[in-house]
């Protein structure tokens, strides 16, 4: 999983990557949208199947590190079906607010239904938005989280700058994302799993091997731990650090706006 650490930019000469393919930058958004339109209905069950339920623990760890309290304003960006939103909604309580934001209306719709079924209505707002250009006021949120969303964004630098803008001074960003396994043995097993087993599971459970092929490829193309930390620093975040989870299969990056 070698990364070009000298250049962090996702877009070069108007081109970017969509999994292993090189595509025109303006095409990527629509292609990603197609993937998530296609997986939305089965997204939650596939998450449990693919990760053997471990994604729940990664998300819990994110919540534990978020420092959320009652009354806070939280943005769950690229929040999809709202797993983090559900937890934040209970933590911030009736005096706080959680915005579940995603670029994809199908994912938001599944999320809205799920959260309503869980009786979570009063302090959640749903906003369809592109992370690169957030429609929120400056200095609005105490916490922004982005779980498994950043690698799908066309221009990550723009997204980080946009997040920085909407965070309150003192606020924090948490990025939970697939990353680079720290042991080569684990990397090999993980590669075999993601390139061979994952698309087959996608085919079996969601009848959609292609989307899960994209998932595996997009994970490979995502910046490694250090590169992402550097990108966050360049966007203005302070005290940036990260924690490897499950041997670096996933990493949680944290940064503050002071």
């Amino acid at each position: 999983m070698s990364q070009d650490t000298t250049s962090n930019s996702d877009v070069t000469d108007g081109k970017t990557h969509f999994g292993f393919q090189t595509v025109a930058a303006e095409q990527k958004e629509a292609m990603v949208a197609k993937v998530f339109d296609s997986v939305a209905a089965k997204y939650d069950i596939m998450n449990d199947v693919m990760s053997l339920g471990i994604h729940r623990l990664w998300k819990r760890y994110t919540i534990d590190m978020a420092g959320a309290r009652k009354g806070m304003q939280v943005l769950d960006l690229a929040g999809g079906t709202g797993d983090l939103t559900a937890k934040f909604s209970r933590i911030v309580g009736p005096t706080g607010k959680v915005v579940l934001s995603d670029i994809n209306p199908s994912m938001l719709e599944v999320g809205k239904d799920k959260l309503r079924d869980q009786g979570l209505v009063q302090n959640i707002e749903y906003v369809e938005a592109n992370a690169e250009d957030l429609p929120f006021a400056d200095d609005q949120f105490d916490i922004v989280t982005m779980a498994f969303g950043l690698r799908n964004v066309t221009n990550k630098d723009n997204a980080l700058a946009s997040i920085y803008r909407v965070l309150k001074p003192g606020g924090r960003l948490l990025v939970l994302e697939f990353s680079k396994p720290i042991h080569s043995g684990l990397a090999k097993v993980y590669d075999a799993y993601s390139f061979h087993l994952l698309p087959k599971m996608g085919e079996l459970v969601a009848n959609d091997a292609e989307s899960y092929q994209y998932l595996a490829e997009s994970i490979r193309m995502h910046p490694d731990q250090e590169t992402l930390a550097q990108m966050m620093r360049e966007a203005g975040f302070d005290s940036v650090d990260y924690t490897n989870l499950s041997g670096g299969i996933v990493a949680l990056h944290k940064g503050f706006k002071f």
Binding site: I54, L57, R60, A68, K70, R90, I91, G93, Q118, L245
Partner: protein, 211 residues
């Protein structure tokens, strides 16, 4: 590394599963909806955060105690007094004995105490919807018998070992291991006694229900 999160997920799933099986029990917690409470177990300072909503209770085990204003109410309680906070009439006595400290909205703890008093968890109520009445009864009977056998075997092993230790002085284990072993066996005894008492209670309940 993720053991806290794993434990919290299991606790949340288990609690909500039980509450969903018995809607009256969920109703008992409805007054708590929208509130949050942190229990910090002393002296180890182990925090358990409970977040209540209409349909579920989310349990988090943060790495360190949350600041007091992160939740509506923070209860610091000695492990030995944990069982007693169910009874609101004992709270003052516990505070005076330095076994309990409450910060924030006391009414949240009172609501939780009264909800806990209304909740009567039983293995039967959990198993009957899953396994059916007669199979549950058989299973509980079977377990009762197994527990009795298990307890006897533990006692037999304990006696044999104690005799062996006296006779085979050369092979004797360091005193600390023996003490540890005895502690574990006593704990096991306490646990089996508790299980047996519980099973007896289920048995009696079944009888009074006329089955």
């Amino acid at each position: 590394m993720l053991w806290r999160q794993c434990l919290a997920e299991c606790l949340s799933l288990g609690t909500n599963h039980v509450l969903n099986l018995e809607p009256e029990q969920r109703i008992a917690f409805s007054a708590l909806s929208g509130t949050s409470l942190q229990v910090v177990l002393l002296p180890v300072e182990f925090p358990i955060a409970l977040y209540f909503s209409d349909k579920a209770i989310d349990i988090q085990l943060p790495p360190e105690p949350l600041v007091d204003d992160a939740v509506d109410c923070t209860v610091k309680v000695a492990l030995s007094a944990l069982d007693k906070i169910r009874d609101t009439s004992q709270l003052t006595a516990l505070i005076k004995a330095d076994k309990l400290d409450i910060q924030g909205d006391l009414s949240v703890l009172q609501k939780l105490s009264s909800a806990m008093q209304q909740v009567s968890f039983s293995w039967e109520s959990l198993l009957i919807p899953l396994l059916g009445e007669s199979f549950t009864a058989q299973l509980l009977n079977f377990h009762e018998a197994r527990f009795a056998e298990f307890k006897q075997s533990v006692e037999a092993v304990q006696i044999t070992l104690a005799e062996g230790l006296v006779e085979e002085k050369k092979l004797i284990a360091p005193a600390i291991f023996v003490a540890d072993y005895c502690d574990e066996v006593s704990q096991l005894r306490v646990d089996t006694d508790r299980f047996q008492a519980r099973l007896k209670r289920f048995e009696q309940q079944r009888e009074t229900n006329g089955e």
